[in-house]
């Protein structure tokens, strides 16, 4: 199995741990991962707020670069997924705009024909890798640990990659496959305010606390999220509360790749859990695996 990997800017900085864990589990799943050569920022929510042509062009450039490789393009970042998928939809439904985008691409010596298949990581694992294959590689199943699947908003909507828009199930099914017990809570795809993390920090923190409170009352040992930005946002919010009051009652927040990595047999990486959750660290089930933050 081979795929092209589009990291997105966050995977190389604040979500570096996501990339590390993703590459690690890919090796275990015998997926050959090739980072898209000379990829650029997809534009995310920022550029489309200012200039539609630029937003579509910067996203399309990545697709144009990927096209010649004839491989599926996988990205762990839901926001990047939306930017890239949006371009594909334009190429399907709006030939005039598509032609204009190709004009801009042409100034950069590229062209896009609309043939690249884009997946977000969760979708790729569910559809192309399959739960059976993941199950076959598990060495340390979660043994009924209660894991709260926090999807976040942009992986569920508007392009769900085949999952149900109102009541997503992919992550729940993955948790079950890993041996855990998915926890149901009302805010599982509620926005955490990631887009406002820098510009309206207090608002984003409050949105995170709502979600963390809901998860806490539902009772979870772990939180998993497929979005690196959500992970960072939730961790920051949890951290802010922690410094002010008593020890952090929030369960550890892992990203999708980290959770899977926990169940595969890899280098002893319990340092992360030891650092922030010594109580859980002592538990053999999840003390093996897991990456550094």
């Amino acid at each position: 199995m081979k795929c092209l990997y589009y990291p997105g800017c966050s995977q190389k900085s604040t979500s570096l741990s996501y990339e590390r864990s993703f590459l690690a589990i890919a090796r275990f799943l015998n997926i050959e991962v090739e980072e898209l050569e000379d990829w650029n920022c997809c534009g995310t929510t920022a550029i489309i707020s200012l200039n539609k042509h630029l937003a579509c062009s910067v996203a399309a450039r990545n697709l144009a670069l990927a096209e010649s490789r004839n491989l599926p393009l996988v990205t762990p970042c839901p926001s990047c997924y939306i930017s890239l998928h949006r371009v594909n939809l334009i190429f399907q439904k709006d030939p005039e705009l598509a032609a204009q985008i190709n004009r801009h691409l042409g100034r950069g010596g590229l062209v896009y024909m609309g043939t690249v298949k884009v997946y977000h990581l969760l979708e790729y694992l569910m559809k192309m890798v399959s739960l059976e294959k993941i199950r076959s590689r598990i060495c340390y199943p979660l043994r009924n640990r209660r894991v709260a699947p926090y999807y976040g908003c942009q992986i569920t909507r508007p392009y769900s990659g085949g999952d149900d828009l109102n009541n997503p199930r992919y992550l729940d099914q993955l948790i079950e496959a890993l041996g855990g017990e998915p926890v149901d809570f009302a805010l599982k795809s509620q926005c955490c305010g990631g887009a406002l993390m820098i510009t309206r920090q207090n608002v984003a923190a409050e949105m995170c606390h709502k979600i963390l409170d809901d998860i806490r009352f539902a009772g979870a040992d772990l939180i998993v999220t497929p979005c690196g930005l959500c992970q960072y946002n939730l961790q920051s919010a949890a951290g802010r509360r922690r410094s002010r009051s008593a020890p952090d009652k929030n369960p550890p927040i892992l990203n999708l790749a980290q959770l899977i990595e926990l169940t595969f047999d890899l280098r002893n990486q319990d340092a992360y859990l030891k650092k922030i959750h010594p109580r859980l660290h002592k538990d053999k089930n999840i003390s093996q695996g897991g990456s550094h933050v």
Binding site: A186, K210, D213, D214, R216, F217, A218
Partner: protein, 652 residues
């Protein structure tokens, strides 16, 4: 050939004349072969317009007429009647549609005029080769079939039966009554539903002219207009209704308990059961999926205890064939499944009810004996009612279900009246169009119900700090006050809409009628014939034809009944004249036509070694004519020669 053709170009006011140069077109028609007279006139369908044709037929001894006007669907009959008056066969008039097919759809006047010229030339070319056709009439069978025993079916059946006709009323469930039997009170009068329905049900049960077939379904409809052969499957009840007295001992003693669908599974019933106390007929049936005798070959208590030995486990389904002249379809509706709105938590959260569930709750015969109580067993203090659940929604049903606003108001009134609780109605619009409906709204307003204009986004039962007392939280924007509100409630009732039954398309196919995109049966004309279908002997009424309240259902049912009665009283009905004809000398006997006929109208005649087309069954669709590899079949007045002449005329 020596035809004498009259061409009449209608202005249709400015509908045609505003785009097409009608005079020029009439003038050029005069130059067409065999055209003796060509006129234009402002309204051909008017009396003077018709008189023009009549006068010309006499004056010029015309034998063929072409009218260039609106769609034949509008006035073909008018002009056919005119030429009959003038002594000609009605099938010798040909209509050229220069309105819907020309002036209304072409932007450029010059191009429209050219097109009109071509259409008229084609019509003239065809009319030269049209042959007079005979109009056969068949006798109409003097019985009527009513399918579906809800209030619409009951009304239609009673009306037809009272007029002296024999009525077969086929109902799928074991009792007639339909959804109306489940209701508690009806708006706006707050009449008890059962009290107004059951007298009619009893009348049906007792009527000498009504042959009631419950627990039965129509399996097949064959035959032709006025002469339908209906195959009805009488499902096995395992109870001999002739012996059963309805004493109820079997139901008392049956050990099985399973979900009671009439109470929407909020309580149980036995494996041998009647639907509700006032059922007609009031005889129980056995549910073989849950009866221990059928599943495990044990028990048999009912059989042992029945004083009349009415239990017969060996009973089989019976197929009964009946013949009728007209069919009235009144199969009703189903309700929207609120689980399709996951944000409302229906099916997951307790105390969130669908409308019918609440109807059963507040009904004294229902699963709480008429007490309005929460899942905790106490009377609620705060109740919310959400309008437009599943309706006016592009993701589900885009139409308005018509009855929900009124029954939501009814619920608001009942809750206030029975419990004194605070009631909140969450709406987008309040639709009260019927007689007494707006007044009812005013009454409910004055009873102190809170009306919040806003569609509820979500219902949750929060835990911990954010919730309180385990109440349901409803999140809604009060659009009129301009604030977003979170309102704690003890109970929420969803005013879910109504939709076509899941098998409506299959049912439509059985009766040869069509459905619209939402699965409701299609009427012949939405304004002028809402109870007829394109089949002159099949009628529709009630919610199967679209969402409506009880008065409209009853009115439509009576209209359908009246139309059916009119049909039967005429005693004969004309059958389709545009039938197909086999030219036996060309037939090779391949039987392709027999296989392709969608109406089973062709049978093989072994003596003639050729197909025989039953003119009664034939609908003139033309499938056999096009399928025949030898070109041995032609459809009257749509022959190859006629059509080729049309095409030639257009191209030249």
């Amino acid at each position: 050939m020596s035809n004498r053709i009259g061409v009449y170009v209608c202005h249709c006011g400015s509908n045609i004349a505003g785009k097409i140069d009608v005079q020029a077109v009439a003038n050029s028609a005069k130059l067409l072969p065999e055209v003796k007279v060509s006129r234009d006139y402002v309204f051909m369908c008017s009396e003077p317009g018709q008189q023009l044709i009549l006068d010309d037929i006499r004056k010029y001894d015309l034998n063929r007429i072409v009218v260039a006007a609106c769609s034949p669907l509008m006035h073909e009959k008018t002009f056919r009647d005119v030429v009959v008056q003038g002594g000609l066969n009605p099938y010798l008039v040909n209509i050229a549609n220069i309105r819907e097919h020309c002036s209304w759809v072409t932007e450029d006047p010059d191009r429209a005029t050219e097109k009109a010229r071509a259409l008229i030339a084609a019509a003239v070319a065809k009319v030269r080769f049209l042959k007079p056709l005979k109009q056969t009439r068949v006798i109409v069978n003097q019985s009527i079939l009513v399918v579906g025993g809800g209030i619409s079916g009951i009304q239609a059946a009673l009306q037809c039966a009272d007029s002296g006709f024999k009525v077969y009323l086929v109902e799928r469930e074991q009792s007639i009554g339909g959804h109306m039997a489940m209701l508690d009170k009806t708006f706006p009068t707050l009449d008890c539903s059962a009290c107004i329905l059951t007298p009619k049900m009893v009348s049906v049960g007792k009527h000498p002219n009504i042959h009631l077939m419950t627990y039965s379904e129509v399996e097949k409809v064959s035959g032709f207009v006025g002469n339908f052969k209906i195959r009805v499957r009488r499902k096995a009840t395992y109870v001999d209704f002739d012996k059963c007295t309805g004493c109820g001992i079997c139901q008392d003693k049956c050990p099985v308990k399973t979900g009671n669908a009439f109470e929407l599974n909020k309580t149980h019933r036995k494996a041998i059961y009647t639907l509700f106390p006032q059922a007609v007929p009031n005889k129980p049936v056995i549910d073989p999926e849950h009866c221990i005798h059928f599943t495990q070959n044990k028990c048999g208590a009912c059989q042992k205890l029945c004083p009349k030995q009415a239990i017969d486990f060996a009973q089989q389904d019976v197929l009964e064939d009946i013949q009728v002249g007209a069919i009235i379809v009144t199969t009703g509706h189903q309700v929207f499944d609120s689980r399709k709105m996951p944000a409302y938590g229906y099916g997951k959260l307790s105390d969130v009810y669908n409308a019918l569930e609440f109807e059963r709750m507040v009904n004294s015969g229902g699963f709480t004996q008429g007490k309005i109580i929460t899942s905790g067993g106490k009377a609620p203090e705060r109740v919310g009612i959400i309008h437009c659940v599943g309706s006016r929604d592009q993701r589900h049903n885009d139409y308005c279900s018509q009855i929900c606003c009124m029954y939501a108001l009814k619920f608001a009134h009942l809750v206030r009246d029975h419990t004194g609780a605070h009631v909140y109605n969450f709406y987008i619009d309040i639709r009260c169009v019927g007689k007494g409906y707006e007044e009812f709204y005013d009454r409910v307003l004055s009873e102190g119900v809170f009306f919040i204009r806003g569609k509820v986004a979500s219902i949750t039962r929060p835990t911990g700090k954010t919730g309180s007392n385990g109440q349901l939280n409803v999140l809604v924007e009060d659009t009129l006050a301009g604030i977003v509100r979170r309102i704690p409630l003890d109970m929420v009732i969803l005013a879910n809409g109504i939709e076509a039954k899941p098998d409506s398309r299959e049912v439509a196919r059985i009766f040869g009628i069509s459905t619209n995109k939402n699965g409701f049966f299609l009427e012949q004309h939405p304004k002028l014939n809402p109870f007829g279908t394109h089949d002159p002997c099949v009628f529709i009424a009630g919610t199967c034809a679209g969402p409506k309240d009880i008065p409209h259902s009853v009115a439509q049912a009576s209209a359908a009944a009246a139309a059916a009665i009119t049909l039967l009283e005429k005693a004969t009905i004309p059958i389709e004249s545009y039938t197909a004809r086999v030219m036996e000398e060309l037939c090779a006997g391949c039987q392709t036509c027999i296989r392709t006929c969608p109406y089973d109208a062709i049978k093989y005649d072994p003596d003639k070694k050729a197909p025989h087309i039953d003119e009664g069954l034939c609908r003139g669709c033309g499938t056999c004519a096009s399928a025949c590899p030898s070109g041995a079949i032609e459809t009257h007045n749509f022959t190859d020669r006629q059509i080729m002449e049309e095409i030639q005329a257009i191209l030249s």
